[in-house]
């Protein structure tokens, strides 16, 4: 009974500690977004600016996703496990925010947070920002798990995943028929759903490419690269196939206007997400076996 009670106390203390880490995150957030000091440090009304709520709280979800990758080993002592959690937690938060800063600089290089979120309350911007935050947190989590507590492997894999994600983001303008910059200015939610489906799909796909056994970092990275290129080959097949299976009919002459409707964005986003999930299955879930059991 005493042991069970002790473990319950440890969990309660850890819950408090994780809350403390999230409290620290508020201040780290201000480093990257100095203009939101008031929103982050004081009590705010979430209904006042839904775009900002989406922007800030998606990051909170992201932090939780990343924290879920850290394991606490109580057998090595309570204080040591707390220390391990705080070191890797701060590292994870820092990596996450830097990644997010870089990714958002690529995605929103024509826009800025103050104008779109604080002044224009742009929901499309907020939604895209939320998708970015969730995907980046998921990918940071994947990297943290694969790094297996090695700082060198973590830094190499983090850079690697960031490059691949950056390239994937650039691909959006090639495969989507929606004009990104124009529709963001128009606060178009169709773009938000389309981009959201795409980036979540791409995140799942990239994450799954990194999810494999590794004994040698160079061989591991080669395998990831090959899987990524393979995904690039398979994904268009699914996109084409799904478009043929579920064809859409746009009114001639009004195609551009109809594409700006919410339905089109949802259709495109679902198509991207489905294609990416199926691609991830074909890239990672086929086991061809080896010749060795036969010999």
């Amino acid at each position: 009974m005493a042991e069970i009670f002790d473990r319950l106390i440890i969990r309660i203390l850890l819950a408090g500690f994780i809350c403390l880490m999230i409290y620290l995150y508020r201040y780290l957030h201000i480093i990257f977004y100095p203009t939101v000091k008031r929103q982050v440090l004081q009590a705010t009304n979430p209904s006042e600016n839904p775009a900002d709520t989406m922007h800030l709280y998606s990051r909170l979800v992201g932090i939780a996703i990343i924290f879920s990758s850290i394991t606490l080993n109580e057998s090595s002592g309570f204080f040591l496990s707390i220390f391990h959690f705080s070191v890797w937690g701060i590292l994870a938060i820092t990596l996450y925010l830097i990644s997010l800063f870089i990714i958002e600089s690529i995605v929103f290089h024509h826009f800025n947070y103050t104008d779109e979120i604080l002044k224009n309350k742009n929901l499309s911007y907020g939604f895209i920002s939320m998708c970015n935050a969730l995907v980046v947190s998921y990918l940071t989590r994947v990297v943290m798990i694969e790094a297996e507590n090695s700082l060198i492997i973590l830094s190499v894999l983090w850079l690697y995943i960031l490059v691949i994600t950056g390239i994937a983001i650039k691909f959006y303008s090639i495969i989507s028929k929606l004009s990104f910059n124009r529709l963001i200015v128009q606060k178009n939610l169709s773009l938000g759903f389309s981009y959201g489906g795409y980036i979540v799909g791409a995140g799942l796909l990239i994450g799954s490419c990194f999810d494999q056994e590794h004994f040698d970092i160079s061989v591991y990275m080669i395998q990831v690269l090959l899987k990524t290129i393979l995904a690039l080959l398979i994904f268009p097949l699914f996109k084409k196939g799904l478009t043929k299976i579920f064809p859409i009919k746009l009114t001639p002459g009004q195609q551009d206007a109809e594409r700006q409707q919410l339905g089109y964005g949802i259709w495109e986003g679902c198509l991207f997400l489905t294609g990416a999930i199926l691609t991830s299955m074909l890239v990672n879930r086929i086991h061809f076996g080896t010749i060795y059991p036969f010999f």
Binding site: Q223, L226, I229, L230, L233, F295
Partner: protein
């Protein structure tokens, strides 16, 4: 057209990188035909015995062969080699036989019983008279060779050796006086039970295959 070009370039890039960088493509040598064995090893006194064959792939097949490489003075090594379709099919009837031999710089490609290289070589053994018949026995340092060669209790007789020499001269494969070597040979089948196991040879019809699938999965 532009998209098709980009896609084709991606396919080429993937195939090229996979061929060059993938670990699965590294470390397995390829043999086009019997002459390719020369590149596998430069040991002066060596014999390759075919001990297993395997095919993978759905539409495009990849052929593998497993060889036991015995070089007179060194460790015995089992090698997996990728082989051409023609070479694999040509050697389906040569299971358990020595496919390649090299001694004193001379190469032989005729399929012969394993150990042909050592018979009558005084460096490796001697003829011993048993019940009025001369049989070949390895010297003490090579006492494990019959096991490596898959001979078990078999000892070649003088007559066996004479037939072997005659076959070499005629360029005709030799499977033993009573066909005891090769896929139908009793000695080979006893020496490599894994290859000849019922499990490996079993060919299932669709009905049996489905019944086994449902038994295993549900």
């Amino acid at each position: 057209m532009y998209k098709f070009f980009i896609y084709s370039m991606l396919v080429i890039l993937y195939l090229g990188l996979a061929k060059t960088l993938s670990p699965s493509e590294m470390g397995i040598s390829y043999i086009q035909n019997e002459k390719s064995f020369s590149k596998i090893t430069d040991k002066p006194y060596v014999t390759f015995i075919l001990i297993d064959t395997h095919v993978t792939g759905f539409l495009i097949k990849t052929y593998y062969q497993k060889y036991r490489m015995i070089s007179g003075y060194e460790e015995v090594e089992d090698l997996i080699l990728r082989s051409s379709k023609e070479f694999t099919e040509k050697n389906l009837d040569n299971m358990g036989l020595s496919i390649y031999r090299r001694m004193h710089g001379q190469e032989e490609f005729l399929p012969l019983p394993p150990g042909s290289l050592y018979i009558d070589d005084p460096e490796f053994g001697q003829w011993v008279e048993e019940n009025g018949e001369f049989t070949w026995h390895f010297k003490k340092p090579y006492k494990n060779f019959p096991r490596y060669l898959g001979w078990n209790d078999f000892h070649p007789t003088k007559k066996f050796y004479e037939e072997l020499v005659l076959s070499k001269r005629l360029g005709r494969p030799f499977y033993g006086l009573n066909q005891e070597f090769g896929p139908e040979g009793s000695i080979t089948q006893q020496a490599f039970p894994h290859f000849f196991s019922d499990e490996r040879r079993k060919k299932m019809d669709l009905k049996t295959l489905l019944i086994e699938y449902f038994k295993e999965n549900f």
